[in-house]
Symmetry: C2
Amino acid sequence: MAMDGYRGFLALLVSALLVGFLSVIFTLIWVLHYREGLGWDGTGLEFNWHPVLLVTGFVFIQGIAIIVYRLPWTWKCSKLLMKSIHAGLNAVAAILAIIALVAAFDFHNAMNIPNMYSLHSWIGLAAVVFYILQLVLGFLVFLLPFAPLSLRAFLLPIHVYSGLLIFGTVIATALTGITEKLIFALKSTGYSSFLPEGIFANTLGLLILVFGALIFWIVTRPQWKRPKEPTSVLLQPNGGSTEGVVGARAVNLDNNGDKSDSELNNEVAARKRNFTLEDAGQRSTM
Amino acid sequence: MAMDGYRGFLALLVSALLVGFLSVIFTLIWVLHYREGLGWDGTGLEFNWHPVLLVTGFVFIQGIAIIVYRLPWTWKCSKLLMKSIHAGLNAVAAILAIIALVAAFDFHNAMNIPNMYSLHSWIGLAAVVFYILQLVLGFLVFLLPFAPLSLRAFLLPIHVYSGLLIFGTVIATALTGITEKLIFALKSTGYSSFLPEGIFANTLGLLILVFGALIFWIVTRPQWKRPKEPTSVLLQPNGGSTEGVVGARAVNLDNNGDKSDSELNNEVAARKRNFTLEDAGQRSTM
């Protein structure tokens, strides 16, 4: 587990986990202590699931999903496993985000408040739609074994860029949501008189921003990237569950498990091609 | 001017300029047509300079400053010149941002509205403070010829990361500012009844977000990076106004203009060391 700056990585990871966890706790305290609490009845109690689920799923879990490849103790796990964890965490976040939207729409409808009039709602809905698109496209292209390597290499930098853009947009949307809610709940005079709830929720906004900043730092350090597996692994029949092998297996689907030398050579060639393409991709992944 | 995907770069640059320019125009239309207009008298007219100056300086000009090294027709210009342009644009943006803050504080004070109670104000002030720190530190370390190359190499990835983080934070802050202003100005019932001003300013928010997304795409494509100058340039006595030479000149300040062979060799060595360090730095710059 040789890693350049392992202690620095650990310190940042622990900070990110702490700040992310604290954001979730702060959101819970906000709705349970300062607001009406939680429920599912069309009132403010149902609306309160909106920030709780979004900060938990769309901020915290999405943030962890983004850096999951960077955890050095997972580098011995197969790429396929790590992709599944990445996709799984993002799927959980997507489900929580959808429930959170339902909570907000339910509340609006029950209270006869119009939907989709605010900048918060426009950007937030766009983020959820793009997030689901990203999830489905990512699943089809990177997790299923059918996409050609050239397509994967072409889409990888776009996938990485879109992911980080959506994550940043989600954080910005959270800040507009906190702003909206505080002005509505405290009225502008309550907010501007430094009520404890205003200061508390402002602090939550800062925590979410700092969490985003930590995730961005961790994910953009090239020295903390998951290293490419040595080609030799490939020569062990069951050693490779990486893209290249998956790709080669897809090609060789009509063969049985035993591999001839020439099949192995094909795999090695596919792997090598994949390395180059992945390299081209990764060069573009910030 | 060989560049990988030059047409793609141009298309994105033109889009970014267009969307950024449109954001400024939208902000002007917002304050001139939908709001009271512009003035400097402590009323809403003075406040209106706040969004105009911030979208112009802190969003548009800062965005251009971020991608200025990526313009291929500037690659024949010296690095020192490009750094000066980068610093100059950021200095202009900082001045506009400070005037914009004064406009908001003046308005609050004249209207007896408290200052610094909102999440928008907290994050916005933090962004301005970090932006000025970044500007001063960048000037001292990267533009003045005194900082050792090791310090430059150490700080460059932090400078790039901080710059992009501040830019993203500024965009998020703009979205909270639009949200606040619309709720205050239209009251929440006016905003939620889809008044034209609400839809117009929401669209401004989307434009600002798209501008940010375009700048982030342009600045994170490795193939659009300013190429490192060939070492041979260095052997022409006046050929190098890049970091390495500036560093070497700083060392040789007590010499006159004529360079001995050994001085040239020193320069070459400094340049080579610089290349390596710069390379180390640039690997970390996303």
